[in-house]
């Protein structure tokens, strides 16, 4: 019984999709990906970039004032004012310089710079996705 019906349906032609349908589907997907990037990723990374710049400014100010308070600049200037003494006691001089560095403030500042650069990198990459041409073949 069922063999009869299988033979029957074998006569029914399979609808052929239009030749350019695959291209249209892929273009739709590229478009969707671009829209999603425009809607979510690009603003997120742009906000991250702006936010990290805003954080970098006070972080730099903190580093600057911490360096001034720690006497690091004065110690460093000994290289120019008293180079012979510095060379004679170079190991103690280095330790003294390192101890006077405001390490935490510098680390915080570098983190904000890193975040800024990473946000910029991803924002540029997503911008390229948005601007990339559609497939035309």
């Amino acid at each position: 019984m069922l063999t009869n019906y299988e033979k029957l349906f074998a006569h029914l032609p399979m609808p052929e999709p239009p030749e350019d349908l695959l291209n249209k589907v892929m273009n739709r997907i590229y478009l969707e990906r671009r829209l999603w990037t425009l809607k979510w990723r690009l603003p997120s990374f742009a906000i991250g970039f702006i936010g990290s710049i805003m954080a970098a400014v006070p972080a730099f100010q903190v580093v600057h004032s911490a360096l001034a308070e720690s006497g690091f600049a004065q110690f460093l200037s000994l290289i120019f004012s008293d180079p012979r003494e510095v060379l004679a006691y170079w190991d103690s001089f280095i330790i003294m310089l390192l101890e006077s560095l405001p390490a935490i403030s510098i680390v915080v500042f570098l983190v904000t710079i890193f975040a800024m650069l990473e946000s910029l990198k991803y924002a540029v990459r997503d911008f390229r996705v948005v601007l990339s041409p559609l497939k035309t073949n």
Binding site: M1, N4, Y5, E6, K7, L8, F9, H11, L12, P13, M14, P15, E16, P17, P18, L21, L22, K24, V25, M26, R28, I29, E32
Partner: protein, 186 residues
């Protein structure tokens, strides 16, 4: 890449190989287009809805459970997309042989499903006749017949794709054949 299984193509795509998506879509473009065309009944809408289907497949590819059958998963998406399209168009889809309560006087009045007489298969206009007759069936009945006889899905796969119990699918298949037989005889 043409030899890769569906699961391998999906895995490669999710790992960053964007080219595999086009291979995967190309593999299922004709069956899905055929399904949508037959469900909706016209070529223009079939093209748009087919695009919608593949966009949905792409969007949900990360959520696809790779222990499940990819083919039945995409046919499920295709069916749901067709239904959403018909709902948006507010198309009341019915068979002229069914009442609002789902009673089908054509199928209900035939007790038995007998084989097709050979002369039907020998008709020169069999393809046109069959196409015309299939349009008279409701989409639910059409879909079961097309999926089983044209796309060669088993009843279990059809049940998974349509998200219905297997006995419902089998029952619908039988009623569809009965109606088809009656329409071909007239």
């Amino acid at each position: 890449m043409a030899d890769y299984s569906d699961e391998q193509l999906i895995k490669d795509y999710l790992e960053g190989n964007k080219q595999t998506l086009e291979v995967l879509i190309g593999r299922y473009l004709k069956p899905i287009y055929g399904f949508v065309y037959r469900y909706l009944g016209d070529a223009h809408n079939a093209e748009d809805v087919t695009q919608d289907v593949f966009v949905k497949i792409w969007r949900n590819l990360k959520k696809f459970d790779r222990d499940k059958n990819f083919k039945t998963w995409i046919f499920t998406i295709a069916k749901n997309t067709c239904l959403d399209f018909l709902k948006k168009k507010r198309t009341v889809v019915f068979s002229e042989y069914e009442t609002e309560d789902g009673e089908n006087y054509l199928a209900d009045n035939i007790a038995d499903l007998s084989p097709l007489p050979p002369e039907i298969l020998e008709r020169t206009d069999i393809a046109q006749m069959l196409s015309a007759v299939m349009q008279k069936l409701s989409p639910e009945h059409r879909v079961v017949l097309f999926l089983h006889y044209n796309d060669h899905l088993t009843f279990r796969e059809i049940a998974e794709a349509l998200e219905e119990p297997i006995h419902t699918v089998k029952s619908r298949h039988r009623r569809a054949l009965i109606m088809l037989r009656k329409l071909l005889d007239t």
